[in-house]
Symmetry: D3
Subunit: 133 residues, 6 copies
């Protein structure tokens, strides 16, 4: 089920083909997951999403690739994005996440979910010492 | 502003005092931030929250302390918990988060927020390959 | 799967029947989607929901019907309401949403999701010039 | 700070005046809180909101008035609606919520927040026995 | 579909077996639902989650067991946790929730969802009278 | 209060200066709001955010500029992003949003918030007719 139609011939569009080629080259795999297949309904949206995500997640930056996946999963869980949780948990495993790290990620995410509720319920004033701006 | 009253004499309660002493000892600091000061309105809730958070965040586990703070911030941002974002950003800095790491955290959190919206809008079926269960 | 039982004979209840008749008349179609079929487990809740939604979405107002559907979808995506995204995307198409408009809607929704995360992470003070109250 | 202007003379509008009179009569108090004062920028929106909320919260129904307030607070905490948490916590106190009940409410809300994160992270299939529909 | 593997022999682990025994004893039933079956991938996370939830939901406290289930459902709906909504709606029924109470719960949850959006849109200042802290 | 420090001399950095110049030129105004001033703590994040938002919101596309602002506000309200609601409500007014349109936007956003809660509570199966994929 999706809100857009899947186009079996999407790659006959050169813009879609170029993105799919880059996905395959970046991941060193022929597999293209459903997100990109469905997003191909609009080549411009496909391009800006893929290159945007690739720049953030695949290029070297201050945080290492696995840490970035863990953060991505944490946001996706909190936003209740089922597809995102599945795909980025798989990505994190591919980058070395062990069962113990997965359990620890869930433990921290659950602890934050718990105290976020407490603080949003208590409406406690922010301590001035936390202010940087 | 808060939904509970701050008790200036909270520490005269031995249960509150024991928790506050443990907070000071754990952090090697006399400073106790507003979350715990206000939570002292119910000593049992204070106890289970502090010891629960301490166990997850301060005890050695599969993920290192700074990574756990980054995950905590990611959840807190997504839940729009202002106090939590402030206090855990301060905690992350105290554990070594640089400006570059902070910017990278925000970049990943924002990218996940962006694609979470796309996927929740597209309602794409989860690829069977992502299934572990 | 649902948390309430579907009642095949729901329309034998005159209150349910009246609402279903109004749905059919308003939409000029015999099709009644699952939301209303399941909501019929409580005729009063069915009535107040249908007439409330109809008043807002079907009566002439300051915004045109398609714009209202786009706003509805934007909220439903952000709340991760799968059914709502599906049903209101279909409604928007029926009111003239093209593929290009759908892609643009998703682009704006994703951009807002991205900057919402940045701002909730930065906790920037609101500029006084934005204050109207 | 607000996104709409407060109208000091709002009650000179007879529709606003009628709603404000009903608020005062329903609550047996002259105090009108900011939500209604600001919402008066659009008399129709003020009317449908006040009468809608009053019908659900003030009329006898299957759940008692205090239980309804606790549910209202739980949703408001989860949606991070600061004003709503403040106003409905005050309403719950006025209807008999003690400090111990407040702490218990927060404890349940925090526990749900914690397990919601775990389940959204695990993506566990729903047991068929839970299905009613 | 799940992000963790289901272990058919999980109960051969004595820590898992002890938790499952306690679940069966607490509920006076042999049925163990998927949440606990899948969570057994990490015995420590299983233990802290089960004993944490049991303490809050099954031990006598200021709120009665059914009210606590209604609050749990309210949070789970707002967080869009499908599994949690299903399992806690079933739990609430087992504790006496009637169809009329279910409808009233949904009515209050929906009303809060509506006004939360209005207040988050209006950004109304909190009335000083609501401040307790 | 912010989680990053405001740099009064940010524009001495040529990358920051180039973005600020583009903001001023695009808006035909000397005013730069706090989001961009604080985001300047990381010039790369400032660049990708500003040019990303400008491309989506300021370039001609399938939806008109005001409709895009209304969608942006709808997402920001649902994510409880206070700054975003303030700044994009101001932007929508600048693009022609009247009080009546503002009220209608809030009415639709609130109606969606209400039915999102109902559907997430009912967990109704999606009608096959809504499936496009």
């Amino acid at each position: 089920m999706s809100t857009v139609a899947l186009r079996p011939d999407a790659e006959s569009d050169p813009r879609v083909n170029a993105v799919f080629d880059d996905i395959r080259a970046t991941r060193k795999s022929d597999f293209i997951n459903n997100f990109w297949l469905y997003l191909a309904f609009d080549p411009a949206l496909l391009e800006e999403t893929w290159y945007g995500v690739k720049k953030v997640m695949a290029e070297p930056s201050a945080l290492d690739p696995l840490t970035k996946e863990l953060i991505y999963i944490a946001v996706s869980i909190t936003n209740s994005c089922s597809y995102c949780v599945h795909s980025h948990t798989a990505a994190a495993r591919a980058k070395g996440m062990t069962d113990a790290m997965h359990a620890d990620l869930l433990r921290v995410v659950a602890t934050a979910g718990r105290t976020n509720q407490l603080l949003n319920g208590l409406q406690v004033p922010v301590d001035p010492v936390f202010n940087l701006g």
